[in-house]
Amino acid sequence: MDYLFTQAANGAVIGIIYALIAVGVTIIFSILKIVNFAHGDLYMLGGYCAYYIIRLLHVPPFPAFLGAMASIFTLGIVLERLLLTPLYSERTERKDEYGLIITFGLAFFLRNIALILFGPFPLRPPSFVPGVLRMGNLILTYDRVVAGAVGLVLIVILLYFMNGTLWGQALDAVSQSRDSAAIVGINPQRFNSLAFGVGAALAAGAGALIAPIFSLAPDMGVSANIQAYVIVILGGMGSVLGSILAGIVLGEAEGLFTAFFPDPTRALAYTNAFGVLVLMLVLIARPTGLFGRRHLRME
């Protein structure tokens, strides 16, 4: 039973980090109607940002984590204003293709600029709380405990923001219909920026939380991106709650699969394949994902 709890606890931490990354992709997709291929690279930048705030400004890890989220939130807004405004112009003929190409190019740019700026060697910031939590046979580093707990708090704040505040409801309105939202006095462009900024900040938060666990490298966003897309499709394109639940489900499923697959020598090798198998089975049963809407475009 201890073994199960240990595996479940580790799976939950990884799942929460997955959820944080994926929910950002979902918010951006819902509002801007684009799949942000640079999302994993914003996750990477968040980690590096926290690292350099700690190293250069001699700030403790937790304020550095908040600083990284704020910095990448601002960067997200700047990037959205600079690169994504043609998406809202009637003169842009192929908006989907534009969004795809521009974010794909941005991903390559950010990854390679990180390689130049931060160097090729992996870096690891100091722990949020050094040491290991031991409860019977359960062993969990405090970094994982902090990542899970802070990630969960961020998710709760996000859910409150989306459902309990006027800005959150305005975001939801824009996601359903930009024109209708404009009619009732919501400025869709402002909320496009806000959505991209919030999505980027969530990715940055995940990057800063995971950095003391997995270390930082310029290419760390690549696999995070892939996992995020799997989760977004699993949860249902455009569903914030779906992304959160799917992230946690996938983290748990992968951890428990590795722990209980009958052949221990092959379990690790099949973990990623198992994640995709879960996705395929869900899509066969529910083609729109766990919480997906049948019609994504309401305009």
Partner: protein, 415 residues
């Protein structure tokens, strides 16, 4: 013929004569000024091992700088054309094609990923251009028997044999082997397992993707194995190793009093190893494909000093291999007195050059198959870290016995 016509004819004949005489001279003069191009390949961006690729490129450029400062070769400067192969075989093919058909290089050296080098050497083989493998360990690279392919790195047959024999000598009986699912990782596994069988050592083998960073569930599983593993042998050549070491340590699995830990592949000797693993790296064992510090020659000392001064970071064994490979190619051109690829291949076969890693020569026999054009006496030794922040050259050498500086074959952690 008029006088004027005769004068014009004489002038034309004189110009042609002068032209015919001067053309070869001018050709020699122009050729003398024209640099000799040599290709360098390796990962410089994701998803490849770009950290090692950058160190290898830096070392190659440093070698070129020194060679040119000393007058170049055949009276001509050399130019290194470095190509980013991104750790992808298709990019390796494209880079090799570019070097052969566009850059017109006379030889190629480099690479960090076996699978990528296997693609590159096919291009070099077809074009008849010599190619020197720098830090790629899969046996089949030299086992293919291509006359153009040489290797300065030790191959898996040399490395895995070293630590396989050490595992037996140190008395380990029950081993968990975790390898990366790449050509290099599989080659290491294929060499190691027969050695473990030969010595009657029990083992279980686990494959993992190269980009894997979450090992917790697998380590928990290994930890609960009955009977307990007394050794955890890992073969990981990229940054995933740091997460693996940290997780194995924090879960109390390895390196511990009950279970020792080894990594093969290189990341345990890079400059940021300790920043990433902290106290988790103490008692980790790894191989160094170079001479131990006590055996460093003048060239090793000079290179380490020059590299550290120029790049503000000490070189890795991979950087030494790359530096030496550049010199070996230039030495072959010098002895061949030609940039003709066939002549360079013949000269490489007769190499007898002393570099930072000892005296280089390449075997010409095929017994066993990987021997052909392999630097068979490539130095490899095993070190075991015994304190945080220790550099590979300052860590105690535990194997081979002839080079050992540690008091015992294995320093067992106290907890």
């Amino acid at each position: 013929m008029h006088l004027r016509g005769r004068w014009v004819l004489t002038a034309i004949v004189a110009l042609l004569t002068v032209g015919l005489v001067l053309a070869p001279v001018a050709g020699i003069w122009l050729n003398a000024a024209e640099p000799i191009k040599i290709g360098e390949v390796g990962p410089l961006s994701p998803p490849g091992g770009y950290a090692d690729g950058k160190l290898m490129k830096d070392a190659a450029l440093l070698a070129a700088e020194e060679i040119n400062a000393a007058g170049g070769v055949l009276g001509r400067p050399i130019v290194i054309s470095a190509q980013d192969t991104r750790g992808l075989p298709e990019e390796g093919t494209a880079a090799a094609e570019r070097l052969v058909s566009k850059e017109h290089v006379v030889a190629i050296f480099g690479e960090f990923h076996s699978s990528v080098f296997l693609a590159e050497m096919e291009v070099a083989h077809k074009a008849g251009i010599p190619i020197v493998a720098v830090d790629v360990w899969a046996n089949k690279i030299t086992a293919k028997g291509y006359p153009e392919v040489f290797r300065v790195a030790p191959c898996q047959a040399l490395i895995a044999t070293q630590y396989g024999e050490w595992l037996a000598a140190a008395g380990f009986k029950n081993i968990a082997v975790l390898y990366e699912k790449t050509d290099g990782g599989q080659s290491a596994r294929d060499v190691l397992l027969p050695i473990l069988q030969k010595h009657g050592i029990k083992y279980d083998v686990i494959g993992a993707d190269l980009d894997q960073k979450e090992f917790t569930a697998q380590i928990e599983r290994l930890k609960s194995h009955t009977p307990p593993y007394d050794f955890f042998a890992t073969m990981f050549s990229e940054a995933g190793l740091y997460a693996l070491v940290s997780q194995a340590h924090s879960l109390g699995f390895a390196p511990s009093a009950q279970t020792g830990m080894y990594n093969s592949g290189g990341p345990a000797t890079t400059p940021t190893f300790w920043e990433n693993v902290k106290e988790g790296g103490v008692y980790l064992i790894t191989e160094v494909p170079g001479l131990p510090k006590a055996k460093w020659n003048d060239k090793t000392k000079k290179f380490v000093a020059a590299f550290t001064k120029k790049f503000k970071s000490p070189p890795t064994p991979q950087a030494m291999e790359s530096y030496d490979a550049a010199y070996i190619v230039v030495d072959a051109i010098r002895r061949a007195k030609s940039t003709n690829p066939k002549a360079i291949v013949q000269a490489l076969e007769k190499s007898n050059w002393v570099g930072t890693r000892g005296k280089y020569s390449f075997a010409t026999d095929h017994n066993p198959d990987w021997h052909y054009h392999q630097f068979v006496t490539a130095p490899v030794h095993l070190i075991q870290y015994d304190r945080v922040g220790q550099t590979p050259e300052d860590a105690p050498v535990i194997w081979p016995k002839s080079l050992a500086t540690a008091k015992s074959l294995y320093m067992k952690p106290s907890k």
